[in-house]
Amino acid sequence: MNFEITDDRRMLAETLQRFLADTYPFEHRTAVAYDAPFHDPAKWAELADLGIFYALVTEEQGGMGGRGFDIVTLFEELGRALCPEPILGQLLAASLLNAPEPLMDGTRYALAVSELDAPYDPDDITTTADERDGWRLTGRKTVVYGAPAAEVLLVAAKGPDQVLSLFRVAAKDAEIIGYAMIDGGPAGEVFLEDTPAKLVTKDAGPALQNALDLGALALCAEALGAMEVVQATLIDYLSTRKQFGQPIGAFQVLQHRTIDLAIEIEQARSIVILAASAEGGSEFPKRAAQAKHLVGKIARQVSEEVIQMHGGIGLTWEYPLSHYAKRLVMIDHQLGDTDHHLERLMDGL
């Protein structure tokens, strides 16, 4: 038994951690995450130069990572820095592309699945694909993560035979209305009307579900990194903030609540490790669902409790903790919430 990460992955983590600490300080994050284009294209280019995107792509596909623990290592660091760069879109695309070279070099991808009446389950989508004069897509995709930054969209749509397939659309051919998410970073509405598209994969259901599960794993790791930061912030605050003549951390009720969070965060780490180790095997969908279900619940609990124990300061824009707390809640709104994944688990019993 060995729970250490490999040296290669440790180096990746350290490289990314140093880069983000040096060049993406919190004030910069807040300055870019809420105003168009809701991320920093220059920093994106530097991340590409660092070779970060190679870690999203498997060796078989020509990359240098793409396995469960590569994803976890990378996204935990992104969570720690609360990085708004839409790297999740890159990851979602990575496993779906036959030729992912442009992605590794920094061409920006976004995966468009969710629709207004199909928030989490790809089976429910209604965007249509018609084959005449090449493929044409019609429909609306909602809250597409990374859409306003993307150069290429991968779009899930149903053909005339109702088979779910995956298409490639040049972002300039679609109507995209971008906005910031409430926790920062880019998302957008994508309107398709007879929009020209290229078929990537016919009958893409299983491949798409695998991509979404990899994404869920990434979001869990991101939450884990963010939870570690807020936990450290909380402990620091409890030991320095004084009321009634003593540090508030001297009050037993706050001690116990802090410990309850610590236990939950360990549980989150464990389920993430379990899901990452299952990646590539038949158990992965179940493990990914378990991870996203538990982490969704734990991240919200951590968010609410750290705010409450901080008091008013935890609700201020100026204090970084509030942005972490928002991210921790809103992660549950991406790629299936805690109930959605619980239903998957219930169906599999």
């Binding site: 969710s114 906005y179 705010i307 008013g312 201020t316 928002k326 709104h333 239903e343």
Partner: protein, 418 residues
């Protein structure tokens, strides 16, 4: 046992409903319903409408221009107002300062300030919390030193205690106030602030606090907005630098401010559960869950979401009765013990659960940062674009007005110690 209102109370309820149906402007109700919140103008308009009706000072005695309501009438008014999506009445002047002035203020102070509160000439805000004095309010440091022109007694020639004011003699006709207050709600719209300030520096911290009225136009005051988690501005920091305040602005006796603060804490806490807000929020979540889809079906048919909703509804029904039991006790002259603290805790937890459900129900559509530019995209169903923002903003309700931890301390003190 009879859980229903009396005939007179039912008649009052009908009257309130009829009034709200005609008098509450639709545009204001729409902004309140959407979670976007009433604007400054909305609040002033609604206060004006209620003032004309004679209901703005609902529980004020008639001799001060109020309606002389008891706790049950107030409850009916507040619950019906919440159900109709009326803006809540701003408490700072009407429900906090006014009762203090009626109990502790001089006849001159009552005559000067009470009419101005009712007719909207004064917008009061509250100066209690400080950066270093939140839950531990008595540790506040903003100081008011008695002075005559030319020098401040507290610094220059105060008594042996080194501070001004233990002997009560004439030793200055004004105070010089220095310090900082924070979390001042809607201070950006206010023209006056009531403050707890330190006027004595020895003895127990509670024993040296005074209650002071300050005109915000006085030189030396700076109001700075604090931006909140969801991006909005509703609270402020207030800085006082050598601010000159006439001694006539002291309410009650010098160094008796803590008794006033405690009086206020026990006053009009009957709406503390906010049941009207919760009933309204529950109806909105139900309507939303019928509109949005999961797995091709309305969300309300999803067993996991329906379970969350049904559990919260059961909690709310129980709390409504707890609330009525307390009201009935208060209305018949009973002494309230820990009930307001219990209702504050349970009431805020239930409201926050409903905010959580309203956010959760939207799925990905909760994610966009609220903006008018997005309204025509209808990413969330109309009126629900602020659900996530509202959820984050309402994390405040278990923190402000005495955090839920402080409420538990109050309860434990009453129930466990002998």
């Amino acid at each position: 046992m009879d859980l229903s209102f009396s005939k007179e109370e039912q008649a009052f309820q009908d009257e309130v409903q009829a009034f709200l149906a005609t008098a509450l402007p639709a545009d204001i109700a729409a902004r309140v319903a959407s979670g976007q919140g009433a604007t400054r103008d909305d609040m002033e308009r609604w206060h004006g409408i209620l003032h004309t009706k004679g209901w703005l000072g609902g529980t004020w005695p008639t001799k001060h221009g109020g309606a002389g309501w008891g706790p049950i009438q107030l409850h009916i008014f507040e619950e019906e107002s919440a159900l109709a999506n009326a803006p809540r009445i701003l408490p700072f002047g009407l429900k906090m300062l006014a009762p203090v002035l009626m109990e502790f203020g001089s006849p001159e102070q009552q005559a000067e300030y009470l009419p101005r509160i009712l007719d909207g000439r004064d917008w009061w805000c509250q100066g209690y919390s400080e950066p270093g004095a939140g839950s531990d309010l008595a540790s506040l440091k903003t100081r008011a030193d008695r002075a005559t022109d030319g020098h401040a007694d507290g610094h220059a020639d105060g008594g042996p205690d080194g501070g001004a004011g233990s002997d009560g003699d004439e030793y200055g006709d004004h105070y010089i106030v220095n310090g900082q207050k924070t979390w001042t709600t809607l201070g950006q719209y206010a023209n006056r602030i009531f403050c707890l300030v330190r006027t004595r520096f020895d003895g127990k911290p509670q024993a040296g606090i005074s209650f002071l009225l300050i005109d915000l136009d006085t030189p030396g005051i700076e109001m700075r907005p604090i931006r909140l988690i969801e991006g909005g501005y509703e609270v402020n920091e207030v800085f006082f630098t050598d601010v000159r305040v006439p001694v006539s602005n002291l309410v009650g006796d010098e160094n008796e401010g803590w008794s006033i603060a405690k009086f206020l804490l026990g006053h009009e806490r009957t709406n503390i559960a906010g049941t009207g807000f919760s009933v309204q929020a529950l109806e909105q979540v139900k309507a939303l869950a019928r509109q949005v889809k999961r797995g091709g079906k309305p969300l309300i048919q999803n067993p996991l979401f329906a379970a969350r909703l049904a559990q919260t509804e059961a909690e709310l029904e129980a709390m409504k009765i707890t609330n009525l039991r307390m009201l009935s006790k208060a209305a018949t002259g009973g002494q309230l013990g820990g009930e307001p603290s219990m209702l504050k805790i349970k009431g805020t937890v239930i409201r926050q659960s409903l905010n959580d459900l309203a956010r959760r129900a939207l799925g990905p559509a909760a994610a966009p940062f609220p903006s008018e530019d997005l309204d025509n995209l209808a990413i969330a169903p109309p009126g629900h674009g602020h659900n996530a923002a509202g959820y984050f903003n309402n994390r405040k309700i278990s923190i402000y007005g005495g955090s839920n931890e402080i409420q538990r301390n109050i309860l434990a003190k009453g129930m466990l110690r002998r």
